[in-house]
Amino acid sequence: MKNKNDITLLKISDLHKEFDHKEILKGVSFELHRGEVLVILGPSGCGKSTLLRCINGLEKIQAGDIIFNDASLTQDNTNWPDIRGKIGMVFQNYDLFPHMTVIDNILLGPLKVQKREKNEALEQAEDLLARVGLLDRKDAFPRQLSGGQKQRIAIVRALCMNPEIILFDEVTASLDPEVVREVLDVILGLAKQGMTMVIVTHEMGFARSVADRIIFMDEGNICEIAEPDVFFTNPQTERAQHFLNIFQY
């Protein structure tokens, strides 16, 4: 936690989630500080994507609490549309709206949800597009873009809401290997600017270079929370050692 300020932005405590009586998250707790990048690793089905979806209110939780900016998100009157403007999310599937141009995709949230001034939002959107090298595609439709381009646009769309946290759910998992890099570079750039992020990924090299802390999950539990160098060179749990061995040839 070098150079990060210590304000706790998000606090998850003893989170339980089940689907059809099958427990997916069995009491998960961690804290996220402002400006911190957390990377969640773990085998498929360990509950890491579900965890992200719970933080964004896409899944109802059965027990535990999620505290964001000192307010609980598990109340009946939680204003999720409002919270989601502050906790952005980018998904694995290119989730752009196919009937809208790139710029309309990006401006939908700022204009309709946040009711911002058109010119001001447009200026920010174009600025962000320029930063990911896609300003010339702003009037294109999603189907005219490559997977990597779509995913960069999806990131811009989340950023344009000026969120306090962005959640990334395996954003490179559906991409061709040669375009994974361009998407990861964008996320790495955000980390350098101090964006607070929770990232679920299977890209180990990327996890190591972007993370401030690694959370390792297995079977609905957090097994290990460690700084990346410690986690990758000297994992404490047997499960983590086993998991990392899979990625070694």
């Binding site: 964004n56 209110g57 896409l58 999720w80 549309p81 409002d82 919270i83 989601r84 403007g85 952005g88 999310m89 998904f91 599937n93 989730d95 752009l96 709206f97 196919p98 009937h99 939908l108 949230g109 309709k112 949800v113 946040q114 439709f141 005219q144 999806a154 769309r157 989340a158 809401m161």
Partner: protein
Amino acid sequence: MQNLGINAIFQGRNFQRLFEGLLITMEISFVSIVIATLLGILIGLSRTTKNKPLLLINRLYLEFFRIIPTLVWLFVFYFGVTTALNVDLSGLSVAIIVFSLWGAAEMGDIVRGALQSLPQHQTESGMALGLNHWQLYLYVLIPQAVRRTLPGTINLATRMIKTTSLVVLIGVIDVVKIGQQIIETSRFEFPTASFWVYGFIFVLYFIICYPLSILSDKLEMKWNN
């Protein structure tokens, strides 16, 4: 001298009367299609809820209009409902009511199918942007669903236009009925009138249905760029 049947169409006011009949056909079709589309969208939306009684009512409504022939519905309303409720409805009103209800049932099913065919992640990415329930439908789901309903809607509209020819049987004078009248009155003078008059009506139906197909192609082209 052989009297050419085609002349039957231009005898007296016949030509004008055929167009008046066509206007009735178009009035019933157009008004019903508009009402059916609006009602159908509401029905389609309501069929994506999880409200069991509402779903059941919707289901019964659709099945009743699918199973029972449109002609029977016309009779039920024209002869049955009017006497049972002691109201006086013209054949034209009954036609518009029945075609609107039938169209709305079918349209509701088309809209439901289109909404349910949209991938779940469209809903989720809309929600993740902070859109509320209504905004999600208004900006994300309905615009995409409308594109998917297009072929079904055009098909339904042409079916409705064609089926309006049944209104003759509840006393509405539409283009087909006027055609019959012309054929009967000119039967001695123009023995081949039926060929020409029905042929002309064929062309008239084509003229009102074909633009729909063109419109449908145009929209599909536009949406697919």
